[in-house]
Every structure is written in structure tokens, then in C-alpha cells.
Symmetry: C2
Subunit: 781 residues, 2 copies
């Protein structure tokens, strides 16, 4: 996936500066191509027939009519899948094409390839599927019952995908010691990733039997392994290319269209195939954020020192596991928030239901538990009569503290500094006068949340990256990127890192996007670890390349100047090397000409250090990532205004105070923070995902409402830049911390305004109006 830059600037890159994105111009002009924008010549369209029951046994599939249609190339069913027909990252439980049972409405039953989209639609409609409906379960609590229908009978623990308990100190029994306690029960909704570019890709069978695909994926290298098992084809027979993605947010972490594309390519006689979900299909078959049922009890002593937490988390993974176990693990690890709480019991379970599949989604379980802990913290502050910010500050973890799950914090910890910054901020200081100056028929409130977010995969799954750089024969620096840029701008930051070290600007560099045949294996673009890990690998590769370039240039200068020279006297400049004392220069191209091909390419392998702590608790969560070593921190503050006549909420201001280490590219950093906050506002107030017996009732953007630019408040980002030794140039991941506390902060703000706590689902105006009515505040001037 080599691409020519059209740089807006030739300025040599420097870490810490707002470097324009390398893809800024090509995206604005529309030249940049997502996977969805590829239309190979003579391609067939791929589509699948989806289930019409949430749980049923397939009794027959009649595709004869479809097969006979003019313009239909192939119709395939599970019988045509050569391998295990089972996808899944840890737990292989999801068929590419249903083989016997359908477990939710998104299940694919048959695959069609056709000349046009119209023929494809007609052919899919012409396939007749007969079912024997099965009892279905849609409520995760019901799914736990002994007599519940079981989705995956071959598993040992009924519908439970993963169950865990973390207990520290004297656990829940220490609640008895507390002077003050508070309790909150919450039920959180699904959320759709709602990315710009729905699932899409093209594929073709190459002459040597390789299945090549250009696909919108966060995980090109891992995709090959998942495909290999399901299709019983060697992983090196797949070539996966990932151009820039039109958003992903976790929704492309794992296979989406890849299995269908590979299967179609195998049966298309060498013709390319293309698949691209419609928005409705995305809603139907794409993964979601896990809904959750939370029960929190928190207690502190008379002085406001937190003492005991007892909480439970129940999540619904839908019909298949996807990353459900990992999401639960991360949720449980963060369940107690960034506080010192010596006695804790954290119980968690994630269960199968006949609902849509839930998996990774920016925040990865943390926005859910942050809504739990941060609401109960606010309630406890009220009960005890403590200032909610001061209360958080008093109990905040610091470097060397132990978290509520017993994890020793050995790396940078910025929550105290974030809280202190918010405490000084006018949005907090002036909250009373702002609230008191509500216009008629409006009520105002300020909500607060503190949160933290682990960086990386935890102690078991290797958090690795392999960087590759090349000095091309024409003297340019080629940056091979092994991890996907799904829109967060990491590819630009990689150019920035390499440019900083090698003193180059965009115009003397080239970017090669992920391509399993050109770039080196690296783990996914996810877990707030993308730049954290790949950046470290790149620094290694760039330093080696720099050393090689300077050493070879030194030789050239020595011949010119006929004396022994020192490498300290050389300076890399854009496109050339300068011998500073003599003022002589040689172009990079000439140096490249004096290097062997193997010398012009440098690679560097990096694996993140992990937390070596062996905890007496949460052992079965270890595989799923518990415990982590590095965390980012944040405090979110919102100013809300509620219309007492309509229940409408306006988010007037939003402050995100973030400690995610040093900031490499301030502009890209702020974009991440703002994007996360906007998505959090959608999660809290707008995106009222509705299911009815497993069927999605909000499957387009007229029913599933996203916040628009008009709904997004003034946002301010305040940075606390601690120097994290693990991170490249002291950075930590910033992709998720910005969303984690938004729902919690908005909930806390609304509780103040309404006088009661809304704890069920998306906080729509309808619910707020009803609550205002109940508290006697409806229509109050």
C-alpha cells in the first residue's frame, strides 16, 4: 500500500509540534482511498443472506432459484467452507456461514456473488431458508438462570462466557466499618460504532493461490491467522492490505467481511470480489459496545477516606464471544476507578444471549464501569457532605499506590494533577454562579468524572511491534507501517518520529501502509497502544538507520577531505548529510548508492514490558489482560443545561483534562480527545439503541441519532504531560481515556439538575422530562 504524499509542508518534523497530517490534503480532496473506495476491474459483488429469527435451527436452504438468475456467479453455504468455519479471536465460536443453528439476526446463512448490486439483492431475496424456531434469551440476567436456553451447549458454564471475581483486603465485609455508604444500580445501553466507512473490502485470488485483500481492518496480521483456521488455508496464503480506515473504534478489531471475501474469492475463478455493508447491514451484523448491568456500593470513613467497594458487573456479549472476555476483564480491572480503596469485591460476568454481538469499542468496558464508580462516588460525597472534587482528590491514586484491584502503580500516575487542574479551572470555580444564572425554564448543572485507562494488552498477550524503514535508492526515507491508521492519525505521528530522528520532512519521506507482504507483523491498532508500541519500534529502527547512513556518509566525506573524520561532525538534513566543520554535503541518494540493499532497510522489534505482579486475586482474568502496567488518566467536566419544558439537554461546555504522558503531536492529540468526548456525548444522550426481542429497531441514522456538530459543546483540553519512561518520547495512549468519563460526568450533572438519578439506558429528553415531572421540576421557570 505505498502511496505518494502530497505534503502541505516540507518542514522537517519535530516531536511536540502540531504536524499537519500526512493525509490531510488527500482526505480533504477525496483522493485518499478507503477500502470501500476500491473497485477492481471486472469485480463481482458479494452479499450474504441473514437470519430472520434470533435463534433457530436451519432445516433447509433452497438457493436453486438464486443460482439460476442471470448475473449470479455463485451461491455458497457452510458446506462450501473448507475449514473449521469458526471465527473468533480467543474463543472460536462464530461461523462464517451458519451451519445448523442461527443465534441472532445478524447470522449469515448463504453467500452470493453477482455482477451487480441489484442482481445481488434479488438473488439474496430468492434464497428460501426454512427454520425451526428455538426459544431465545435476550436478557443477560435471564441468560444466567439454570433453566435458560443455552446458546453454545458445547461450553461448560451455560451461557457464561467469562466469570471473575477480584477481592482485596477484607472484601465486601469491610462495608460494615464505613461511616457513610452509598449505592447505585445502573443499566447501560448498547452503542453502535457508527463509523463513516462501513465494513468493506475487495479480494482476489492471485496466480500462486494467494488470497489478496484490501480491507477495512484494525488487525491485518491477526486476520490472516483467523482466516487460516476457519478456511483451512495456510496463513501465508493470505495477503491483507489495510489502507486508511474511515473509522473503526474497535468495530473492525477482528474479522468482518474478510471471511466472506476470502470464500467468494476462492470461488470466483480469479475475478475480484467486493463487499461493502450498507448502513442497515452494519447495524444488523456489526459488533456493538457491551450493554451492562452494574450494582455499586461504596463506603468511606467519617473523614471521607474511601474504605470499601462492593460491585458487580454483568455484560451481554450477544450471540458470540468476540472480545467479550477481554472487555469484561478490562472493565473489572478499572471497576474501582483511580482511587485507593483497601477493601474491595468486584464480581463480573459476561454472558451469551440472542442479541447482536458486542465486542471492542473505544473504552473497552471502561466507560461502563466509570459510569458506575463515578456515580456512586458522587452519591457518597453527597451522603458524607464532601465536595465531590476534593473527595476524589483526597482518594486519588498516585505513583506507588495500589489500585482497588490490588495493582501496584509503578509508572506515571497523573490523576491527582488532573484533578488539581480542574479544581483551579474557571468551569469548576465558577460553577455556582453559572448554575444560578440559568435562563427561564432552564436548569443548569455541572458534572464531573475521573477515570483511568490501561495502555496495552496486559501480561500474557505480547504487545509487540516490528518497525521497518528504508532509505530508498532515490534517497527518500520510506516508513513501513505495520499498524493501521483508522483515522486517529498515528501514521502521521510515525512520519513525525522518523522525521524527527532523521531530520526529514514529508517531502523526503514516503509512507507505506499496512500490507502483510511488505510491512512487518505488528499487533492491532487498539487498546491505546498503537503509537505507544509501534513508536518504540520505530525509534529503534530510525536510530539504526541513522547510524548506518552517517557511517557510510563519513566514508564518503573522508575520501573527499582526505582525513579521518568524526561522526559527531555530521548532521543529517532533509535529503542530504552535512559535514559541519567543512560545510560539505552529500545527498542521501548518493549515500544510498554506496549501501547494500540489506543495509538500506532497517527493522526493529519491540515488545512492551509488562506488570510482573502476581496477584492473589483475579487469576482467571490474567489471560484477558489483568493486570496492566501503564495507565493514562483523565478528568471530565461538563456544564449542562436542561429545558424543563421539553427535557432537552444541552451540553454547554466540556473540559477534558488528560494525562497521557507527553504529547507528540498536539493537534492530533486534541483531535483524539475531542473525538472521544463527542462519541461519549452520543453514548450518554443521543444514541438510544433499541432492541426488540433481539431485533434492532434503530438501524439507520434517522432512528439511531448521532450528535452532530451543533450538539457538540465548546470543548477544552488541558494537558498534564508526565514523562512515561515506557512510552516513546514519554507518551502514553490517548485514544480511549477521553471517552471513559463522559457518560459518568453527564449522569452526575443531570442528577444534580433533576434531583434524582437516571440509571436506565440512554439519557434521552423523554426520560429526563419524565424524571423532572416526578421530582416536580417539569416546567419550572
Amino acid at each position: 500500500m505505498s502511496r505518494t504524499n502530497r505534503p502541505l509542508t516540507s518542514e522537517p518534523q519535530v516531536i511536540g509540534r502540531s504536524a499537519l497530517r500526512v493525509d490531510a490534503l488527500t482526505k480533504v480532496t477525496g483522493e485518499e482511498r478507503y477500502a470501500a473506495d476500491y473497485y477492481p476491474e471486472n469485480h463481482l459483488w458479494v452479499g450474504v443472506k441473514r437470519a430472520t429469527y434470533p435463534h433457530a435451527r436451519l432445516t433447509s436452504i433452497d438457493s436453486s432459484q438464486a443460482k439460476d438468475m442471470v448475473g449470479v456467479a455463485t451461491v455458497l453455504t457452510s458446506q462450501d467452507v473448507p475449514g473449521s468455519n469458526r471465527l473468533g479471536i480467543f474463543e472460536k465460536d462464530q461461523p462464517i456461514l451458519a451451519d445448523g443453528i442461527v443465534r441472532h439476526y445478524g447470522d449469515a446463512i448463504a453467500l452470493v456473488t453477482a455482477e451487480t448490486k441489484e442482481i445481488l439483492e434479488q438473488a439474496l431475496a430468492a434464497i428460501v431458508v426454512e427454520y425451526e424456531p428455538l426459544a431465545a434469551v435476550f436478557d443477560p440476567e435471564e441468560a444466567l438462570a439454570n433453566d435458560a436456553v443455552v446458546l453454545h451447549p458445547e461450553r461448560v458454564d451455560g451461557n457464561v462466557l467469562l466469570r471473575g471475581e477480584i477481592s482485596c483486603g477484607r472484601g465486601a465485609e469491610a462495608l460494615a466499618d464505613c461511616a457513610f455508604t452509598a449505592k447505585v444500580s445502573i443499566k447501560l445501553n448498547w452503542q453502535d460504532h457508527a463509523f463513516l466507512e462501513t465494513e468493506s473490502g475487495v479480494a482476489w485470488l492471485e496466480k500462486d493461490g494467494t488470497i489478496a485483500m484490501i480491507v477495512s481492518t484494525q488487525t491485518p496480521f491477526r486476520d490472516r491467522l483467523e482466516l487460516a483456521e476457519a478456511l483451512k488455508i495456510s496463513p501465508n496464503k493470505f495477503r491483507v492490505m489495510a489502507p486508511h480506515l474511515g473509522g473503526a473504534f474497535g468495530g473492525k478489531d477482528g474479522l468482518t467481511v474478510q471471511g466472506f471475501l476470502a470464500l467468494a474469492a476462492l470461488h470466483s475463478g480469479g475475478r475480484p470480489v467486493k463487499m461493502w455493508y450498507s448502513r442497515e447491514e452494519r447495524f444488523l451484523a456489526g459488533t456493538k459496545r457491551h450493554p451492562a448491568v452494574l450494582n455499586y456500593t461504596l463506603g468511606c470513613d467519617r473523614e471521607g477516606t474511601l474504605h470499601t467497594l462492593d460491585c458487580s458487573i454483568l455484560m451481554d456479549t450477544g450471540a458470540y464471544s468476540a472480545l467479550g472476555g477481554e472487555v469484561l476483564g478490562l472493565a473489572m480491572e478499572h471497576a474501582g476507578g483511580p482511587y485507593c480503596i483497601p477493601h474491595t469485591r468486584i464480581k463480573g460476568a459476561v454472558v451469551y444471549t440472542n442479541n447482536p454481538v458486542a465486542s471492542a469499542f473505544r473504552g473497552f468496558g471502561v466507560p461502563q464501569v466509570a459510569a458506575g464508580i463515578e456515580q456512586v462516588v458522587d452519591e457518597l460525597a453527597k451522603v458524607g457532605g464532601f465536595d465531590p472534587l476534593q473527595f476524589r482528590l483526597k482518594n486519588a491514586v498516585r505513583r506507588g499506590s495500589v489500585t482497588p484491584t490490588g495493582v501496584l502503580l509503578t509508572q506515571t500516575v497523573g490523576i491527582g494533577e488532573c484533578l488539581a487542574k480542574v479544581q483551579e479551572h474557571r468551569l469548576w470555580r465558577e460553577r455556582q454562579s453559572w448554575q444560578n444564572s440559568s435562563p427561564p425554564f432552564k436548569r443548569r448543572g455541572v458534572g464531573l468524572a475521573a477515570c483511568y485507562h490501561a495502555v496495552g494488552f496486559g501480561p500474557v498477550i505480547p504487545d509487540y511491534a516490528n518497525a521497518k524503514l528504508e532509505l530508498s535508492t532515490d534517497g527518500r526515507i520510506r516508513v513501513y507501517v505495520g499498524v493501521v491508521d483508522m483515522g486517529q492519525g498515528n501514521a502521521s505521528t510515525y512520519m513525525q518520529i522518523v522525521g524527527h530522528i532523521l531530520f526529514q520532512g514529508y517531502d523526503t519521506m514516503e509512507l507505506v501502509l499496512p500490507d502483510t507482504s511488505q510491512t512487518l507483523p505488528s499487533a492491532s491498532s487498539s487498546a491505546s497502544r498503537t503509537t505507544f508500541t509501534y513508536g518504540n519500534a520505530l525509534i529503534g529502527a530510525a536510530n539504526i538507520l541513522k547510524e548506518r547512513i552517517l557511517a557510510r556518509a563519513l566514508l564518503l566525506f573522508s575520501f573527499q577531505l582526505l582525513e579521518q573524520l568524526s561522526v559527531q561532525d555530521l548532521v543529517l538534513l532533509p535529503g542530504r548529510i552535512l559535514h559541519q566543520p567543512s560545510g560539505r554535503e552529500v545527498p542521501l541518494k548518493m549515500v544510498a548508492g554506496f549501501m547494500d540493499d540489506s543495509e538500506r532497510i532497517t527493522t526493529y522489534s519491540y515488545t512492551c514490558p509488562v506488570n510482573k505482579q502476581v496477584l492473589s486475586t483475579g487469576g482467571n482474568l490474567r489471560l484477558h489482560g489483568f493486570p496492566h502496567r501503564v495507565f493514562s488518566y483523565g478528568v471530565q467536566l461538563v456544564r449542562l443545561q436542561v429545558d424543563t419544558l421539553t427535557g432537552e439537554v444541552e451540553v454547554c461546555d466540556l473540559l477534558n483534562c488528560i494525562e497521557a504522558g507527553s504529547v507528540l503531536n498536539p493537534q492530533v492529540f486534541e483531535q483524539q480527545i475531542q473525538g472521544g468526548a463527542a462519541q461519549g456525548i452520543g453514548y450518554a444522550l443521543f444514541e438510544d439503541f433499541a432492541l426488540e426481542d433481539g431485533k434492532i429497531r434503530t438501524n439507520d441514522f434517522s432512528t439511531y441519532i448521532l450528535p452532530t456538530a451543533m450538539d457538540i459543546p465548546n470543548m477544552e483540553t488541558v494537558v498534564v504531560a508526565l514523562a512515561e519512561d515506557d512510552g516513546p518520547y514519554g507518551m502514553k495512549g490517548a485514544g480511549e481515556i477521553s471517552i471513559d468519563g463522559i457518560l459518568a460526568a453527564i449522569s452526575n450533572g443531570l442528577a444534580g439538575i433533576i434531583g434524582t438519578r437516571l440509571t436506565q439506558g440512554t439519557l434521552t429528553g423523554e426520560k429526563i422530562l419524565l424524571a423532572l415531572r416526578q421530582t416536580g421540576k417539569e416546567g419550572v421557570r
Copy 2:
């Protein structure tokens, strides 16, 4: 100078966090002792008799009456000085006690030691000095005349201390190409350092003949060498201790009281001696900021691209060289500002006069030349019709640019980013509406300046530091500091660096302040290089100590656990080491017990890399520091309001946008930036230093007016944090960049308000009123 901390926090230190100063509590409570606060038992007071002529031959000194007074211990003259009696850092031209000639009113003629201050005063008054007055010169331009009286006839170039010329491109002749040109001539005043603690110290002769002193100095190690030559005593016979300083700002860079103290100690039969300048004596004998005469002509093309600079700088070093040559060198290096100007001629000279001695002062010549270039840039923007900010941005240097003195910028360059931030800032964006809303009888204006400041000593004088750390036998980390903390907070930052690496808080660390017998030789606290250089040395020492501690701890754990362990499993914690997998800990104290004394102490020597460029210009400035390698950058913006009835100026807002690399301790950083800005306001508007034939007419704080808290505006600091590879954790020096542009920005703001440019001396209300009268704006409503 070991001291016990009274920490306000025991939190483990982290780089990037606002760590409370280690000396915060002791300073607030008054426990912390400056050199001035030391009163050794049974000490004598030291004082000196000063000249009563600005230039004269000494014909006789009659001290018989003084010697006979009860309570007088000794009276000494130059005859009692054993060595060369010549002080000076590069040029040894200043006597400790005048021997034949006095060259300004501050010259000391005789030294007295006495039992009390009162007796001392009486004895000094009783010394009768007879003079043969000599013609004197007070104007630097007159001092250059062929027939001028010469202060140091033994020198070759009349009164010229140093003369230089830098020429790039086609030099001044390229002015002819310019579409637009502008010209500014400026005469800048002296400035007094006006530190809280005037020059002071105590000294005593130890039994072994060592002269020990506790003294308020920026340069304990260099002081020994200066003393050794002047007194003909081996440098290792001096022990210099430097506690926290009550300010210095360059005014204690080089000897002040040290020569007198040493001399007195030698003649006091083992009794300690104490000297402490009164405020008046400080004004009389202390060094000052160099006054300067500047002539600037600047030209650009039709599109506003800078083309040619022709400028001259004349500085007055007063009676002695001190650091006059170095100040001129730095001024010339920065004369063209942070812009790309291909054709330049920069002429400079610093001359002797019979005025007070000028030397180092925060900014070191740069505030002077910034006032020149930034005013002519504003004038040229006006002539060409360019927006002054956009004009600067268009011409700003970037990484890889060449400065107006031909210096290639290989390191981080942040001026473009700073200008862009100011451009977006409301104080800039809303300048027009703010100006338009002046209250009655007020006129408002906004002034801007961009500047840069070299870090360190340049290519010849080694910019070195030697760090030393100790794991004490009681398990604490002792940080030996070789460079002085003159109030800027660097000692706290050193604790922060060591604490960050070794995971300790203040309560498990100790600070040892500079003491030539305990800490290791390090260069001065000056040149925006204090933490830059010492920080790098400390990182080295801390990493070695960490490695040693972990290695020895590993052994102890291995014996306990009876297995081979990995050092990666160990974590340093406050006061102890944890073996993470087993959860076992050993205290640092125990580890110390298993180490040899030599292992418990680690040292690390660091010398900064330098610019290896060999320039065809400015060769005679090389010794004086030209060219530098690393620069900090800043943009200063002021909002001014002038009273048209009184001429009074109010600085309403001040924005300092600074790029000085990463910020290690945000609070200390901001204090530096605010302090520099306040001092710059004093320089520009308040501190109207007045001389009359070499005699200071403003020698106390009722005549020399400092701005108070009431005169200091709302200040905002905006940080651009580029990652400087040379600096510890990516930082650069921030001690001077904050003052460099203040006078320039205020001058530019006033020019807009008044309609003409004030170019002579301190910009007092009196001058402003007169100028308003001339432009017809006096009393305008």
C-alpha cells in the same frame, strides 16, 4: 551544605508534574538560610572604603586613625594582597583593592574588619584617601574617540574591550535590493539586578590553612580559580559553599564579596568574618545590565520576505570587563532575531568607561538586541503594510534554517509554533475590539515581540557538569548538587529527576547544596543551561545507582527465594525494593549495608555537545560563545493602556508563549516565565537607572523603582513542548527567554498608542506624556 528536608509531600516524584519545591516550607517559614543569614560565632564584620572619584590616581591612603580605633581588627590595602590582585573571568583587569588608580565610584580602596557594624562604619569614614583626579569618560561613543581618556592603557585597542563583525550573504549592500526598508535607533538604559539578598558571605581560615566561605555566588567552583590567581593561593586551599541564593540573575556570576572575605579571613587570626553589602553599596559596586546604543536598518521584498539587515550594537561595560565580551557576543549572535535574513551585517563593540561595571544579567544582551530587531520589524511591517504577526511568521526560522548570523539550526525550533499559538489566542484575535473600547482619557495598544535564546556556553568553553549521588547507609538517596539554586528552583528539579528514576519522594531523599569539598565541579548557574546540563549528568548518575541497587537487591532476593531471578522483576519503591512476582521487599537500608562505600556513591560527568559549524564570519566571537547549537524560543504579547492625562502606562495583560522543550516541573517553569516577564516590565517601564558623571543617582528603592505585585498584569503562559534530543527529558533552558522580548513588546505597544517611537532609556510616564503632547494626544478623551 547538607540540609534536612521538611517535605510538604512524600509523593514519589514524577517528571512533568508540578512538584512542590523542596525549599517551599523552609523559605516560607524563614528557616532556609541564605549566605546573608549566617552569623558565625565571634565573627568580625568586613567593609571596604570606596572611591569618591570616578577616575583618579591614588596619592595616599592614611588609615592610622582607623587602625587605632577600639574594635577595629585590621585595615588592609592593596599592599596586603599576596597575589596579582586582579579579578576577572576572561580578562583579569579588576583589582580587589585599588592599586594606584580608581576607575569608577565602586572601586574599593581599603578593607576594614571590626567587631561591630557601627565601628566598621566609623573606621571606614576615618580612612583618609587623597587623589589626583583624572579626566573621565562616561559616554561609550566618546570612549571610542581617538583622543578619549583610556582606562586600561596596557590594552591594545584603546577603550575597546571587544569589537566584532558578522557578515552574511552580500551584507549591508543588499539593502539596495529591498522594496521596503525601515530604520530604528535606540539607546537603552542600565538595569540593576535588585535581588532580594544583596552580596554577602562569611569566611574563616581553617586549621589546615583552607579558606572556607559560605557565600552568595552562582559560581562556587570557578570562584576558587579566580581567587587563587588574585591572592596567589592554591585553588584547593579554598572551600566555597553556596546555600540557596536570594536571587542573582547574573549579578553573582563571578566574584563579589569573595575577594574581600578571603583577604579578611587571612588576616583575622582564625576568627570568622562576615560581609554583607547594604542596598546602597550593591547599587554602587554591583554589576548591572549593559546599556546599549543600537542602530537597525531592515529591508524586505515586495511580498514581505526579509532580505537585508544592517545593524550596530555599542555596549558600555563600565570600568572593568567582567563578562562584557561574552554579553556582546551573545547580543550579536541574536541581533537578527529568529528570522531568515540572507544578507546581514552586524557590527558590535563593547567599551570601557568610568561608569559602573556591567556584566551578566538574565538575558545576557538579548533583551537589548530584541528591542532593536523587534522594533524595526514592526516598523518595516508598517511601511510594507503587513500584519506584524503574519510578517514574523512568514520569516520565522524553522528546523534546518540558517539564522541571520549564518548559524544552521540543527535542533528543535519552536518559533513558528509559538507565533501560530499567539495568532489563535484571544488576546491577539480580539486586539482591535479591545483597543476600540478604551475608557475615557485612556488609549490602548497591543505589542508583540518574538525572540530566541541560546542555551549554554557555545563551542569553546566546556558546558560541563559532574553529578554525584549516594545511597546513604540509612537507606536514603543523597543528591549532591554542583550548581547553585539561585531561586529558580533547579535544586527541586534535580530531586525530581532523581526521584523519578529511583522512584523516591522528598522524604527518602536528601539534598546537598554546592560545596566544593562535597559536590563535584560543575559550571555556573547561568546561560539557561543549569538544569539542561546538570540534569543530563544526574540522569547518568541515577541510572548507574539504580542499576547497582537493583543488582545488589537481586542477590539478596536470590538468597531468600533460592532461585535465579531476573532484574526485570524488581521495582524500586520509596525506601525499598520489591520483587514483583513474589511480593517480597527489602529496604534500601539493607541493600546499602551490602554495598561497599564506593558502590554507594555514583558520579557522572556530562559535557554538552556543541555546534561544530565553522563560520566564515564572527570568528573573534567564537571564544565568547558564537555559535550556539540549542535555542529556546518565545513570543511575548502585551496589552497596554496609557493615561493621556498623566502618561501612566498600565500593562493589562501579558502573554508569554514559550518553546523551551519539554517542561519537567510546570509550576517551577511558570514561575521562571512570570519572573522573567516581571523583570522585563521593570526594565521597560520602571527601573529608570540614573547616572550623573558616573555617579548613581538611584541607589535605593525609593529612587530606583521596581514594579510591585500591583504593577504586574494578568499573565498567561502558553507552552509549546517540542522534544529536544540534547536536553534531559527533552527540555531546554527557560530562565531567560521569558525576559528577552518584554521591552520590545512594550515598546511596540507604546508606539502604536503614542503614534511615535520612544527610543531613549526607560519608558517612564514622564517621557510618554511628553511624547503624547508632541503627537497631539495628551489629554485626548
